[in-house]
Symmetry: D2
Subunit: 449 residues, 4 copies
C-alpha cells in the first residue's frame, strides 16, 4: 500500500496556489498526500515564500501532516513525484501585458491565449514544458503531468506529440463554468438536476450539448434561453472575458453551445471595440490582474490568514485548481469521473486526426483519460475547428524549431489577426519585445534588428 | 414523477425469460416497473403461457405489484411501451439446426451467428425487426429498443441504419464473461480489484484490453497467463463454444485479447473438426439446446417453481438477461454505467465509418450509449474488423433487398465459408431450407428450383 | 458517326461570347459542331442580338456551316443539347457593384467571388443553376453542364451535390494563367519546357506545385524567384486582381504556390487598403468593367467586325472561354488532356470529404474528369482549405434553403468578413439590396424591414 | 543534353531478359540508352552469360551502340545508374516449387504470389530489396527503382515505406492483359476503340472499370459478356492461372471487374481442386516453368539466335518486360502516359491510408507516378481490399523484423490459408524449408527444430 502521493507544482508561487491547497484539503479523506512541493523561479522567490507559508498554515489548520517543500530548482524536488502540475507563466504578467497591448496598439485583439498574444505565450511556454519533461524523464519517469499552463491545448499537444510524455493531461476551468451555466438555465425550467453536458473541441475553443437525466437533448432549449431571451444577462461566466451577446441566429445554426472564448471569433469586432477602450484606459486584463495580484499577496502575507480569501475568486481562474485536484483524485483512485480535459483525440472527434490533442468529455481513470466519442460536427463548427487545429500545429512547429515562416503562417491563419503587412509588423514587434524568452528564435530575431 | 415503466418483451415465451424476470426483481428498488408484456407468436402460445405463469409466480413471491400481460399480437401491447426488448428466434430451434447442419454437411463451420448459419439467421431476422420498428413508430414512438436477438450486431445495424430507429441498443453477454475472465486471471496476481476492461469491435467479433485500478495496462500479462501457460484451462467462458486453445504467438501479435467467437476465425480448422464430430453424433448446439429447452419447460410447468432454476445457466446465454436489465436500469436512471453495447460508432473505432454499428465500451445514459474512443487497431485486428464489417453490410443489403448477388458476395467474403462452387451450393441449399421465412428472396429462390 | 454537337450557352449575351466563338472556330478541325444557341434573359435581348450578330459574322468568316440560334427562353433551345455552358450573371454588373461597394462601405473586402460579395453572388446564382438543371433533366438528360459562372466552385458543388447533375464540370481561367506564369519563370532558368504544374484546392483558392520535364520539383525555385527576388514584378496575372506582393516567408512555409486570389486571404489588409481607394474614386472592379463592357458592345455593333477585338483581353476573363472550348473538345474526343477543373474530390485531396467539389488537375475524358490524387497538404494550406470548404457548404445550405442563420454563419466564418455586429449589418444590407434576386430568402428579408 | 541512360537489371540472368531487351530496342528512337548492366548471383553465372550473349546479339542486330555489361556483383555496376530494374527470384525455381508444394501437401492453395507461398516469397525477397536500396543510396542516389520482382506490391511497399526509396515504382503485366481483354470484348460490340480501362486495388488484387471513347461506362456490359454468356471461353488471360469461371452473380454485385488472381479468392475451392491435380501429377507451376526455362536456355545458347523466340510468351510474364520498357520510357521522356503501377496511394483509394502502396491507373511523368483518384469501393471489394492490405502489412512487418507472431498473424488472416493448427504446421514447414534464405528469422526457426 502506497504511503501517500507526492505532488510537485511548478509555478507554485502563483496567487492561485491557495485554491489548489484548499482543493487538496477538501479531498484529504480520499486523496492521500505525503508531500507538496511548490517550485518557482529565482525571481519569484519572495512570492513563493509568502504563498508557501500560507499553504503551510492552511494545511496545519486542517490538521494534516503533509510536508510542504519550497524550491527554486525543480530538479531538487522532482525525484519520485507522482504528479507534476504546471501553472507557471514565462515572463510573468509583464509579458502578458505585452501580449495584450502590442496587438491592441495595431487595432487587433490582445489576449493571453487567443490571437497574437496567445501565440507568443505558446512560443515562450512550449520550450519550458519540454525542458520540464526532459527532467521528468530522468527524475520521475512514472509521474503524471497535469498541465494548466495556458495556452493549455497547445502546451499539452507539445508535451504529448513533441515531448512524447503520454501521461500528460491538460485542464481548464471553462467547461465547469459552462456546465454550471447550463445547469442554472435548466433549473429555471425544473430540469437542471444532474444534467449531462458533453464537450468537444479545443482548449478555449470547444462547444457543448446538454441532456437532461430523462434523456432529452436540451441544447436548443438552452440556446433559446441564453441567446434569444432577455432573462439571462447575469448568467455567470469567466471573469476575464467581456460578456457581449452572441448573435442568436448564428448560434442556432451551430446547433451546439459555444464557450465564452468563442466571442473572440464569433463577434470579433465587438470584442475588439471593448478592448480598445481598456487599452486606452490602461485597463487591459494584465493590468487589472497585476492590481489584483498585488492585493492578494498583501493578504497572503498576513500570518493569521489560513484559508483561501474571497478576493481570489475574482482572479479569473475560478474552479481551475479545484478541477486539478479532482483530476488528480480521479486518476489516483481510478474514479472514472466524467471530466473535460485536453487529451489525445483517438477518433473522438471525427473531424480531426487521431493524434491531435482535443478538449473533450472523458472518463478519468487510473490509466488516463478515455474520451467519449463525439463524431462529426456540422459545417460551421467543423470548419473553424479544423482551421484552429492547423493554426495550433503551426504554432507548435514554430515554437519547437524557431522557424519564422511557421510563425508568420500561424499569424496569417489566425482569425484574430488581420493578415498582411500589419500582421508581419505585429509579429516582429512581439518577437523583439519577448526576445529574452525566445532563445530558439534568436536567429530570426537578429534579422529583425 | 413517473408511475413506473412498461416493458414489452418480444419472444417472451423463451426459456430465458425467467432470468430476465429475476434481473428485474433484483433491481426493483431502483427500477420502477408498472407492466411487463410477454409477446410471442401463435405457435409459441403454449410456451408463452408456461413461462408467463412462472413469471407471475416469481413476481408475486417478490411482493411486487407489476402487471404481467401475455399476448400473441405485439400490436395489442406496444402502445405506451417505454422499452421493447427482443429475444425472438425466427423459425425456432429447427431453423437453427438447419443453420448448423447444412454448412457442416459440406464441411464448413455451422453456427448460429457466424458463417453461413449466422448469415441466414440475419436474413430471417432483419425483416422482422424492421416490421417491429414499423409498429413502434405508430404505437410507442419514444420507446427504446433493446435488442438481444442474434446476430445482434447486424440486427442492430439494420434497426438503426435501415429502420432509422436511433433509440436501439444491441446487447450481448460475451463481454461480461470476458470481463469476469480477466478479473479472475488478475486476482491470481492480486490485482483483480475493479479492473477496467475496455472492448471494441463488432458483436461476437471484438477485442479487449485490461487496466488495473493503479493504471497499469495488463493486457499482455493476461495474454501470457491465458495462452502461454497451463494454469487456466478451466477459465469460465460461454457454454456454447468449444474451448480450444488459441495460438499464443498469434494472440501476442494482436496485442489485444480476442473474444471466444474469435476461435471460429483464428483456429477455424480445429473448431471445424470438433463440429464435424458433433454433427456425426447429432450433438450440434441446436440439438443440445432442444434437449435443454425441453427439460427447462418441464421444470417451468411446476406450479410451485417461483425462482430461476439452476439448469437455466447451462443454456448458454448466461448474464444475457442480467445485462439487459442493467442496461434498462442505466438508461432509466441515467446511471452512466460503463457497459459494452452495440451502438453507432461515431468515431470511436477509427478503422470503421462513423455510421457503422460497433460493439464497444460505452457510458450508458438516459439519452443512450456514449462510446469511449478506442482509436486505431494494429494491422491484424484492423484487417479482419474491416473485412467483417463489409461482410455485414452485404448481409444487411441482401436481407433488406432480397438481392441474391449480395448474399453470394457475403458468402464469398465470409472467412468461415470456403468460396467457390461449394459456397454457392450451401447458399442455395440454405435458401431452399429456410424458404418460408425469406419472403423477400422468393424471386431468387424460385430460380433455384 | 455523330453529325456534330449542339452547344447551348446560357448568358450568351455576355461580352465574353466572341472569345468563346473564337475558341470553337480554332478547334473546328477536331470539334464538330452543328449548332450554337446563345440564350439570355429578356432584359439582355439587345446585347444578345449584338453579340449574336457578331458570332455569326465570325463563323461565316471562318467558312463554317454552324447554325447560331438566339433565344430569350432556354426551354426553347435546350432540347437535344450536348453541352450547356453557363456564363450568366444574375442581376448583372449592377448587382456586382453592390457586392463590391456595400462591404467596402463598412471597411471590408468587396469582391465578386470572395467575401461578402462572393457569398451573395452564390445566393443569387445557385437557385438559377438548379432551375437550369431542372429544365435539362426534362429536355437534354444526357448533356454536359460546363459551368463558368462564378463563384464557380460553389455553383458546381450545388449543381452536383444538390441538383444531382453529375455531368457538371466547373471551369476557371486562373490555373492556366499560373501555369503560364510558372513556365515563364522557369524559362529564365532554361527549364520551362513542358513544365508539369499540378493544382489542388478550391475554385479561386488553390495551390500548385511545378515539376520540370526532367522530374525535378521546382516549386521552391519558383517561390524564390517570385517572392524573394526583384525580377518578376511584371509577371502576368489576372487583370482584375491588384498585384501586391505576398510575404515570402509565409509562402515558403506553405511549400506550395498560392493563386492570385489568395492575396485576399494572405494579405487581406493590404488588399483592402487598395480597394478602399478604388471605392473612394468610384473605380471598383464592377465600375471599371461597366465602362469596358460599354466600349466592347460599341465595337461589337460594328457590322464589319468579324474577329475578337484586342480590348476583350482586358476584361479579366482571359483564357476563360478558351479553356471552356478545350474542355468540351477533350470530352467530345476523349482526349485525356490534363486540365484543372472543379469536380468531385473522390479522395484526390485527402483533407476533404470524397463528396466535396474541388478544383484539381484532372484527366479530361469522354466520361468526365478523373482527378489526380494530391494527398495531404501541410498544416497551413490544409487549415484554410478546410475552413473555406465548410464556409462554402454553409453558403450552399443557405442558398438552397433560405436559412438566415446559415448565411450569418458563413459570414462569421469567412476570413474576409470581420465577425460581430458589423458582419450582421453588412449581411442585412446586402439582403435588402439584392432582395429581387433572392426569392428563397423573402421570409428572412421581411423580418429585416 | 543527356548522353543516354544507364540501366541496371538485377536478376539479369532471367529467361525474361530477351523480352526486356526487345522492348528497349523497339523504343530506341525515343529512349536513349548508353549501357545495360545485367546482374545476377554467382550461382546464376552460367545463365547470365547465355542471356548476356544473346542480348548482345539482339542489340547488334538492331545496329545499336549500347554497351551490355555482365556482373555477379551489383556493387560493381550500380554507380551512376539511372534505372535499376529488379526481376530476381531469391532461391530460384526450387524455392518456388516449395512455396507451391508444401501448402498443397496440406490441402491449401500453393502459389508463388498468393497464400502461404506468396508470403514466403515476400519473406525471402524483402530483405534483399532493402539491401539493394542500401547500395543504391551509396552508389546511385538519384536512380529510379523499377520493381517487377513478385510479390510486387509488398516488395514495392517495403522499398518505399521501409527502405524510404520514394523513387520506386512496381509493375505487373496483369493490368495490360485485362485492358486487352476488355478491348476484345467491346470490339465484338463495335465499341472497343480506345477504351479507357481504370484500375485500382493491390498488386494481383485489383479491379477495373471500362469506359468507351464516347464516355459510356461499359463495366456492366463486359461483366455480362464475360460471366453471363458462353461467348468468351477463350478470352486470353495469363498463362499461369487456371481459367475457371467466376460466379456471375457475385461479380455483378461487385460492380467492378476482377483480375485473374481474384479466382484464388472468389472461387478458392475450385482453384484448389485443380492445383491438387497438378500437385499429384507433379505439374505445379514451378515444375512446368522449370521445363520451359530449360528449353528456353537451350534456345538462347544458339549463337545465331538474335531475336526473342516465340516460346518465351508461354512463360507467363507476357507484356511484363514490355511494360517495364514503356514505364522507363515514360519517366525518361515525361510522356504522361496512363499506366497501371504500384505506387503510394496518396488518397487515390479512399478505403486505404495515404501511405499504403496500391496498384492503380496513374499518369507516368518524369517525377513519378501520379495516381488517378478512384474514390470508395462498394462493400464487397472494399472489405477484401482492406483485409489484404492489413495482411500485407503484417508480412512486411515479419519480413523486416523476423517476428514469428507477425508471420503467424499474416497466415491466420490470409483467406487462402485455413487458420488453426494446420496453418501453424505449414508455416513451420515453410520456415524450415526456406531457412537458408531467411536469416532474420533464424532465432524463430531455431525454436522449431
Amino acid at each position: 500500500m502506497k504511503h501517500g502521493i507526492k505532488i510537485v507544482t511548478i509555478g507554485g508561487g502563483s496567487s492561485y496556489t491557495p485554491e489548489l491547497i484548499e482543493g487538496f484539503i477538501l479531498r484529504s479523506d480520499e486523496l492521500k498526500i505525503r508531500e507538496i512541493c511548490l517550485v518557482d523561479i529565482e525571481q519569484g522567490k519572495e512570492k513563493l515564500e509568502i504563498v508557501g507559508a500560507m499553504a503551510k498554515r492552511m494545511i496545519k489548520k486542517a490538521n494534516l501532516d503533509w510536508v510542504v517543500t519550497l524550491s527554486t530548482d525543480r530538479r531538487d524536488v522532482l525525484a519520485d513525484a507522482d504528479y507534476v502540475t504546471t501553472q507557471f507563466r514565462v515572463g510573468g504578467l509583464e509579458a502578458r501585458a505585452k501580449d495584450e497591448r502590442i496587438p491592441l496598439s495595431h487595432g487587433m485583439i490582445g489576449q493571453e491565449t487567443n490571437g497574437a498574444g496567445g501565440i507568443f505565450k505558446a512560443f515562450r511556454t512550449i520550450p519550458v514544458i519540454l525542458d520540464i519533461i526532459h527532467d521528468m524523464e530522468e527524475l520521475c519517469p512514472n509521474a503524471w503531468l497535469i498541465n494548466f499552463t495556458n495556452p493549455a491545448g497547445m502546451v499539452t499537444e507539445a508535451a504529448i506529440n513533441v515531448g512524447g510524455w503520454n501521461k500528460t493531461i491538460g485542464l481548464c476551468n471553462i467547461p465547469i463554468l459552462f456546465e454550471k451555466n447550463c445547469q442554472a438555465v435548466m433549473e429555471t425550467k425544473g430540469q437542471g438536476e444532474d444534467l449531462f453536458v458533453k464537450f468537444a473541441g479545443l482548449n478555449h475553443f470547444h462547444w457543448h450539448r446538454a441532456f437532461t437525466n430523462e434523456g432529452k437533448d436540451v441544447t436548443d432549449v438552452i440556446i433559446e434561453e441564453l441567446y434569444n431571451s432577455n432573462n439571462f444577462n447575469d448568467r455567470e461566466e469567466v471573469a476575464n472575458i467581456r460578456r457581449l451577446p452572441f448573435h442568436y441566429e448564428q448560434v442556432k445554426n451551430l446547433g451546439v453551445l459555444p464557450c465564452s472564448y468563442h466571442r473572440y471569433y464569433y463577434i470579433t469586432q465587438d470584442m475588439l471595440d471593448g478592448q480598445i477602450d481598456d487599452f486606452a484606459s490602461k485597463q487591459t486584463r494584465a493590468e487589472v490582474v497585476m492590481e489584483t495580484e498585488k492585493r492578494l499577496f498583501e493578504l497572503y502575507k498576513d500570518p493569521d490568514l489560513d484559508y483561501k480569501p474571497e478576493e481570489l475568486s475574482k482572479r479569473g481562474g475560478r474552479y481551475y485548481s479545484d478541477a486539478a485536484c479532482e483530476l488528480i483524485n480521479s486518476i489516483e483512485n481510478d474514479k472514472r469521473t466524467i471530466m473535460v480535459v485536453s487529451t489525445q483525440n483517438n477518433g473522438a472527434l471525427s473531424d480531426l486526426s487521431d493524434k491531435s490533442i482535443v478538449e473533450v468529455s472523458s472518463i478519468i481513470t487510473a490509466h488516463g483519460a478515455e474520451p467519449l466519442a463525439w463524431g462529426e460536427f456540422s459545417a460551421g463548427p467543423r470548419a473553424s475547428l479544423q482551421l484552429m487545429k492547423g493554426m495550433e500545429e503551426l504554432v507548435i512547429e514554430a515554437a519547437t524549431t524557431g522557424d519564422y515562416g511557421a510563425a508568420l503562417q500561424a499569424f496569417t491563419l489566425n482569425p484574430l489577426i488581420p493578415s498582411g503587412t500589419v500582421s508581419k509588423k505585429v509579429l516582429d514587434e512581439l518577437f523583439l519585445a519577448h526576445e529574452d524568452y525566445l532563445p530558439l528564435f534568436n536567429e530570426a530575431i537578429a534579422k529583425l534588428k
